[in-house]
């Protein structure tokens, strides 16, 4: 590690040690106390090495740190020419592209604040966030996003400029407030001629306590909330994490998660500058897996959803493979699992098992990793929601260094991590340096760290609820185990009890269900009831494939979901989950008694799940109240009529008759 960096980290921690209980840690004023200053340093120190790549027109286009700075500077000055002032907000919307990051960093250079948006958010959400944040500038990727912004322009007068990056289809948009990214950069060049040195002065004006980012959390209830984070919050948090994890300037990272998600900002916009590694933007959302294989990322960050999807696709492909491949895969995955079990229990791995494992590495694990584009992974993370231990163990057993981390947008992302030699299946690891974690009497996890946010933007009530005496109230129920590992059980407000007092943690059971490749999403209910019932979403890809191989014809998702054979298939999966619940003494009574398969996928557009795919339970309980009542009656089916919202805002009604099945319970 660079000795200068180490020294600096030492200094930060010294400062942090003296912080008062509820003040945020201060980063000492230095040449690298803000994100833009770090960028200048990178461009000076390693100007020729590659900062960011994007695949376009079938080839990888690379930008050095010098080019990165050059682009940021031109765009920043262009923004200045258009009238961007310190403290203004700039929104970006679109897929991960260098221009999206440049725009955000350019805003930071001038003391303005990026407000990244989810590219698939519907108009109402976008309207709320742009209106609430007061964003004057929006950088939209393409025609699709520009059209969304145009639709909002009337309603949100505070939005003054729309800047687009991909000109396709926009040739005839003549509105004076729409400009292309390159046109703004050209304005920047002119501005530079008239105001030489302006950019450097503005960067120099920045202080660590300036607000650096206002991501809006998708929130499982109510309107999104803007999380105010300063340079000090973000940088300190990243630096503290780097005390535990050793990233190298040669590391490669894939930037494919929504830019509005704090995890992506941390890695692709902040860690990038701190460590000096390379960020790679895929060609399109549909090519991520292929592009990943070409790049061979060394650091990877996926929400549980994606780890589950990848596993499902492996399982589907193995079902289609020849029997010899399938047998080999199953056998060696089992070998790997036994080895992993030994290691987790810190037992010695027997010699014969080690030999088998080496053979498996040659025949199965290495080729599999290579196929997934994970051949060079040094660190892989999952965060955002709980990942089922079975899925987690699968990746670790095939040699992917997957770890769970825990953090919230409000804590500048990660605040716990699993050290390389201390990984447990069911915990999110130990607190990072300088992070205090405490579990309240009610079982809620509380965090105090330099990364804790300044408050919700223009929302003092929510702030005072979440931030009490310097402690962030996470709303997650958790426990700290004997080894100091934090274990998250569920959302605190979701954990409840059955009528007889048995603990009922819905997410825990749902994750077990979701381990099945055939189950995409599940909702369990049982609060105050005698027993647990489940509503299940089948995985269209996996179940469709399964049905095709058995020559079961189907027309639509709804039709497939209600096939008796599919019910039989899911019934078996529920049985397996019950068996595994039975094995855990406290949860024995939380076995699933009845289930039904939903006629439609839970969708963020219908407000059933958030954009980061967390269930919005209260809303689901209301919306599907009829179904839940039917589950707890003795009826064998229930009629539904559901309104669905398409991506373009149109709505339609789906009608279906859903069957309800009883499941055997182990006593």
């Amino acid at each position: 590690m660079n000795p200068g960096v180490a020294q600096e980290r030492g200094r930060i921690s010294a400062v942090l040690a003296h912080r008062t209980s509820h003040a945020v840690g201060k980063v000492e004023r230095s040449a690298s106390d803000t994100i833009p200053k770090l960028l200048l340093r990178r461009a000076r120190e390693q100007g020729e090495s590659i900062a960011i790549r994007e695949k376009d027109y079938g080839i990888w286009l690379s930008y050095s740190w010098k080019a990165y700075l050059e682009n940021v500077k031109k765009f920043a000055l262009g923004l200045a020419a258009l009238g961007l002032k310190r403290g203004d907000k700039l929104s970006v919307i679109g897929d991960n592209r260098p221009q999206g990051y440049w725009a955000q960093v350019a805003a930071l250079c001038l003391g303005a604040i990026p407000v990244p948006l989810y590219q698939d958010a519907i108009e109402k959400e976008l309207e709320y966030i742009i209106e609430h944040s007061g964003a004057r500038f929006v950088v939209a990727e393409d025609q699709e996003q520009v059209d969304k912004m145009l639709a909002l322009k009337e309603k949100v007068p505070s939005m003054e400029w729309i800047i687009y990056d991909d000109p396709r289809g926009l040739r005839n948009y003549r509105q004076p407030f729409i400009k292309s990214f390159t046109a703004v950069q050209e304005l920047g060049l002119e501005f530079e001629r008239d105001h030489p040195g302006f950019f450097e002065q503005e960067v120099e004006k920045g202080t660590p306590d300036d607000v650096a980012l206002i991501p809006y959390t998708s929130g499982t209830t109510g309107n999104p909330k803007g999380v105010v984070l300063t340079h000090a919050n973000l940088l300190t948090n990243v630096r503290l994490l780097l005390r535990g994890e050793q990233y190298l300037p040669s590391d490669q990272l894939m930037a494919y998660l929504p830019m509005a998600w704090i995890g992506d900002s941390i890695f692709s916009m902040i860690m990038l500058f701190e460590v000096g590694f390379t960020v790679n933007c895929p060609e399109a959302a549909s090519t991520v897996m292929r592009d990943m294989r070409e790049i061979g990322p060394t650091v990877m960050f996926c929400p549980p959803r994606i780890w589950e999807n990848i596993l499902t696709s492996i399982q589907v492909k193995m079902e289609d493979a020849s029997w010899i491949k399938r047998k080999m895969f199953l056998y060696f995955v089992d070998v790997a699992k036994r080895v992993a079990d030994c290691r987790l229990a810190r037992r010695k791995v027997p010699l014969w098992l080690r030999l088998l494992h080496a053979l498996g590495e040659l025949l199965v694990y290495a080729p599999l990793r290579d196929n997934l584009g994970m051949g060079k992974i040094r660190y892989a993370y999952t965060a955002g929601a709980a990942l089922g231990p079975e899925v987690f163990q699968f990746y670790r057993s095939i040699g992917v260094n997957l770890k769970q981390v825990y953090g919230l947008t409000e804590s500048s992302a990660m605040c716990t991590f699993q050290p390389d030699d201390d990984v447990k299946l069911d915990t999110v690891g130990i607190p990072a340096a300088e992070v205090d974690i405490r579990v309240s009497e009610g079982g809620e996890v509380l965090i105090r760290s330099p990364g804790i946010f300044q408050g919700y933007y223009r929302n003092p009530e929510a702030t005072s609820e979440a931030l009490v005496g310097g402690w962030l109230h996470t709303g997650d129920a958790g426990i700290v185990d004997r080894d100091g590992h934090l274990k998250i059980i569920d959302r605190a407000k979701d954990v409840s009890t059955l009528a007889d007092g048995t603990i009922f943690a819905p997410q825990y059971i749902e994750n077990k269900l979701k381990f099945s490749p055939y189950i995409k999403e599940a909702v369990t209910v049982g609060q105050g009831r005698e027993w647990v019932a489940a509503m299940i979403n089948i995985d269209m890809e996996a179940v469709g494939n399964w049905a095709e191989r058995r020559s079961i014809g189907y027309t639509s998702y709804t039709d497939l979901s209600q096939k008796p054979q599919v019910y039989e298939l899911i019934h078996n999966e529920v049985r397996k989950v019950n068996a595994s619940l039975w094995a855990e003494e406290q949860l024995r009574k939380a076995q699933i008694r009845r289930f039904l398969i939903l006629h439609k996928e839970l969708d963020p557009d219908d407000a059933e799940i958030t954009r980061t795919r967390k269930l919005r339970r209260r809303f689901i309980a209301q919306k599907y109240a009829d179904l839940i009542e039917a589950l707890y009656s003795d009826r064998e089916g229930v009629d539904v009529e559901a309104k669905v919202t398409y991506e373009d805002g149109r709505t339609a009604v789906i009608r279906a008759h859903l069957k309800i099945r009883d499941v055997e319970v182990l006593q």
């Binding site: 079938g58 040739r171 005839n172 060609e283």
Partner: protein, 267 residues
Amino acid sequence: MAEQETGRRSDGPPLLEAHNVHMMFGGLMALHGVSLHINKGEILAIIGPNGAGKTTLINIFSGVYHPNPGRILFEGVDRTTMPPHHVAALGIARTFQNVALFKGMSVLDNIMVGRHLHMKSGFFSQGLYWGLGQKEEIKHREYVEWIIDWLEIEHIRKTPAGMLPYGLQKRVELGRALAAEPKLLLLDEPMAGMNLEEKEDIARFVLDANEELGTTICLVEHDMGVVMDISDRVVVLDYGQKIGDGTPEEIRNDDRVIKAYLGSVGR
């Protein structure tokens, strides 16, 4: 988007003119004295009930059939009896009602075929990937990649065309036709058999090709909604005769057309 005018010029001489076109198949009179013109930069739709002679007309435009009697002028030059490969060289590209891709070849290679007309290097130079052949390959690959990006088919770049679902095959075919950088693009039912979303995609690509590349487009299509939305002008055929020619609004209100065609679909 109707008020946007780039690519919708109607001044100057027509790009293609058809005069008194007749076509007989044995005893069947498929076209009976049809005259029409296609203006530079417009989107012209040809509609009509089944068997009205729409595809025959497209085949005549692209040189597969030769009218007798009748005359076809392209950019003012008579090319009535020209064979298809010469027609293509003039700058007319087409897609087919039934997809006609090279099924074993990748999407990339299929679209590359569309560049054939623009390649000057010989068989050996290309085969050895040396000299002019190499230079050309890189240049044309760039153009093909531009089309792939434009049609949003990056994820299937290397997939054999025959393995793709129908909707995507149609899109690849459009890509191949566009790769020839045609002055006139003939689309024979580009949206047949597609779902709503796929139709909307294709409609957008057709509009974009017209606006961004300035390509003149003549399409045969059955979906009235799409035709009325994207065309500048509509020509209606019925039993081999032209019974209507005008803007979508005019066609919608034309009594003969309503009687012959639109009435039967309940509009």
